[in-house]
């Protein structure tokens, strides 16, 4: 890593309440100085980035990605997935455990986090909450935490049983990390491939109801209350990819009651509705599914009023041959790392009037905060030299074929984006230039 001086940029660092022109010096993989323009002109560096007209922000943090390694490297690898992350402005990503085999052991976790995987941005991982993500018996949270786990989840599936979820929340509370829950009552969603509603009815597809998501969120919140009351523990529930107005309402109420609930929303859930399924476009198939317009607007409302803590992509690469199947047979998921910032700025900033600094908060400071990722999501002096430089006014259209991901399964091929990443720096190394 070399020292880098970023000059003339608009530094947006929500963690420090900063949104102003500043020069930034990165040294030794850390943020060394953030000064008024011209204040660092005597600094000797090899590399200078002229960021005039650009936003200079903490590298983005995605608490929800699927990198498919080990086991499914034909879809993605840690190397290619983190390259896509860098192209999207992300400098920290959290890998979900539904690899093959499931990441449920210290050995598996250490293997994943090993430098030999060639992650080009900081890789964190959430191991499985239960062995094999079967939902029966919780994994060894203490040992996994020591090996680097930042939370636990059976993502792709819910922790369904009350007893198991309760035990997981209690165990995680003891070591200060969240249980990240994929909220889907799978007893209600067998054979379903999209949102329940008029579109599903017309297309002859079985639909996942709002209840299937809301029931798990509501159950988990009841468990939090009960744990607080009877165990005196403040357990942390993180609700993944909220997609329904009803679940959002439940989370809002729980937060008002002071429970430790956080949640994320994926860009596709605030951008698209189930109409995007069109003529059975499998690139509009994911779980949770695209919902109704009222739900989409509820996601935006939650993002605007602070109910939503962060934007997370649920980057879920799949090979073309898997998506080129009958809609009901195609796997769930879309890629998202390279479209998240462009969609957030277009939909939330341009269309909804959200401040750029607030978008950055939702994509850096807050996701880093949820998982207590020290020195991430901020440009405080001494923190990691994780930086994204982007042109906030650039309008462009995303081209799936140009993606760094191994997979191209996105409904946003050709879609309008606002804000283009010009450079991504991870711990002082330039890992992407646009």
């Amino acid at each position: 890593m070399s020292d880098i001086l970023i000059l003339n940029g608009r530094v947006v660092d929500p963690a420090n309440g900063l949104d102003a022109e500043r020069d930034v010096l990165l040294r030794g993989g850390r943020v060394a100085a953030v000064e008024m323009p011209g204040g660092l002109k005597h600094a000797k560096v090899k590399e200078t980035i002229d960021a005039a007209g650009m936003v200079v922000a903490p590298g983005l943090v995605d608490v929800h990605v699927h990198l498919r390694e080990p086991g499914q490297t034909y879809k993605e690898s840690i190397k290619t997935g983190t390259a896509a992350a860098a192209a999207g402005g992300f400098t920290s990503v959290v890998a979900m455990p539904n690899t093959v085999p499931v990441n449920d052991s210290v050995a598996g976790l250490e293997w994943m986090l090993d430098a030999a995987r060639e992650a080009c941005v900081k890789l964190f991982a959430m191991p499985a909450a239960t062995f094999g993500s079967h939902g029966d018996e919780i994994t060894d949270f203490h040992e996994l935490r020591r090996a680097g786990a930042v939370g636990f989840t059976d993502d792709g599936k819910p922790v369904l049983h009350d007893r198991v979820m309760r035990a997981a929340l209690v165990a995680a509370a003891g070591i200060g990390v969240p249980i990240s829950q994929h909220a889907e009552d799978t007893r209600l969603t067998g054979g379903c491939s999209m949102n329940a509603g008029p579109v599903a009815f017309r297309l002859g597809l079985r639909g996942m109801t709002v209840e299937a998501e809301a029931r798990i969120v509501e159950r988990d919140i009841r468990l939090l209350r009960d744990i607080e009351r009877s165990d005196g523990l403040r357990a942390h529930l993180h609700v993944q990819h909220v997609s329904t107005a009803r679940a959002m309402d439940a989370i809002r109420e729980a937060k008002r009651d002071g429970l430790h609930v956080t949640c994320e929303v994926a860009p596709h859930h605030f951008t698209l509705t189930d109409e995007a399924v069109g003529d059975y476009d499998t690139n509009a198939k994911m779980n949770p599914p695209l919902r109704a317009e009222t739900d989409r607007l509820a996601m935006i409302a939650g993002l605007m009023d602070g109910t939503v803590d962060c934007i997370a992509t649920d980057h879920a690469p799949h090979a073309l041959f898997e998506k080129e199947q009958e809609f009901e047979r195609a796997p769930n998921g879309i890629t998202g790392l390279e479209t998240a910032l462009g969609l957030a700025l277009r939909v939330l900033h341009k269309d909804q009037g959200m401040l750029v600094s607030r978008v950055i908060t939702l994509m850096s400071a807050q996701p880093a905060g949820i998982l207590s990722l020290e020195g991430r999501g901020t440009l405080s002096v001494g923190s990691f030299a994780d930086v994204v430089v982007f042109d906030p006014a650039a309008e462009w259209s995303f081209q799936a074929k140009a993606s760094r991901s191994k997979s191209k399964n996105t409904p946003f091929d050709g879609a309008a984006m606002l804000g283009r990443v010009m450079a991504t720096i991870s711990e002082g190394r330039v890992v992407f230039t646009g």
């Binding site: 008029p198 009815f201 080129e324 809609f327 047979r329």
Partner: protein, 330 residues
């Protein structure tokens, strides 16, 4: 976001099929029916049509096959039970194989909704949807339409426009949720001026059905629905089978169902004595329909089968670029 082109002559859904195109299909059907056998058998001479059936079928498969043969085409039947599909070959690869073997058009029956779109996209061939999952059965809706035009008084079977079926009420009763026939009819007939009244218990007929389009209503009381089909001879009652193979956990009390929704002779005579009775088949006598009604004078069930042969002939001609079709669209 991106518009996908499908081969001209495909019929994947009735949604978006222009009324003029419906009329052109009916007109071609009438022309083919009048045509001498010798002439008809030359229209598609030497052309190759593949029938790709992933689900069992009697009427649809046989009528497509007979239709193709009567036009002089060669047909190949591929079914999931006796092909490489059993070994896990994908729909795309099956389609590409058929195309490489010379198929110029594929007639597809499939258990997954939307499968014909996938086949049409990946092969570039004209694809005729012969029933896909719970989605649509477009050729059935067209043959049902022709049956109404031929059996109800005062219509020309070879022409329709947006007003042709004004004053006609079609009551579709039973397992609407799982029925591709119901969807295709409910999306086609109102665009020709008909009122479509859907009837069935909530478990088999969700309120979402109203959003299939303008002109679709729900009446859960079968007797009341039947009375809307009227006594003026301009009403149609279409009965549907309960699709046990697709129920997926929905529990139906059959005795109660029969009591509330079976079309039997007393119910028909009391509420809609002049209504035309239709059923797309397969029918379960004694369940959704009494045998005496199926065999009675109001029944058009065999006409439906005959019209299936005629309409499917026109669809094959259209798919292979013959006949008098000007604006051929999916």
């Amino acid at each position: 976001m991106k518009t996908i082109e499908y081969a001209a002559g495909s019929l994947l859904t009735v949604r978006g099929l222009p009324v003029e195109e419906v009329s052109a299909i009916l007109s071609e059907t009438a022309r083919l029916e009048r045509m001498p056998h010798a002439e008809r058998s030359q229209i598609l001479a030497g052309r190759r049509i593949a029938l790709l059936f992933y689900e069992s079928s009697t009427r649809t498969r046989t009528s497509f096959e007979l239709a193709a043969k009567s036009l002089g085409a060669t047909t190949t039947l591929v079914s999931d039970k006796s092909s490489s599909i059993e070994k896990g070959e994908s729909l795309k690869d099956t389609g590409l194989t058929l195309r490489a073997l010379g198929a110029e058009c594929i007639v597809l029956r499939h258990a997954n909704s939307g499968a014909p779109f996938l086949l049409a996209r990946t092969t570039g061939l004209p694809v005729l949807n012969a029933g896909d999952g719970m989605h649509e059965h477009p050729s059935q809706a067209l043959l049902d339409l022709r049956t109404m035009l031929t059996r109800l008084p005062g219509f020309d079977a070879g022409f329709v426009d947006a007003k042709t079926l004004q004053g006609v009420t079609v009551v579709i009763t039973g397992d609407i949720l799982h029925s591709r026939v119901a969807r295709s009819n409910a999306m086609l007939l109102p665009r020709l001026g008909a009122r479509v009244v859907l009837c069935g218990p909530a478990a088999l007929l969700p309120e979402y059905a109203l959003e299939l389009g303008e002109g679709v209503e729900i009446e859960r009381n079968f007797d009341k629905a039947l009375r809307q089909a009227g006594a003026d001879g301009r009403g149609v009652v279409m009965m549907l089978r309960i699709q046990r193979e697709r129920l997926a956990g929905v529990e139906i009390d059959l005795a109660e169902y029969i009591d509330r929704y079976q079309l039997h002779i007393e119910r028909l005579e009391a509420n809609a004595p002049k209504a035309l009775v239709m059923h797309p088949g397969p029918m379960i006598r004694g369940l959704e329909i009494a045998g005496e009604v199926a065999d009675g004078p109001n029944s058009a069930i065999e006409d439906q089968v005959r019209n299936g042969l005629a309409v499917r002939s026109a669809l094959l001609v259209r798919a292979l670029g013959k006949g008098g079709f000007e604006s051929v669209t999916v």
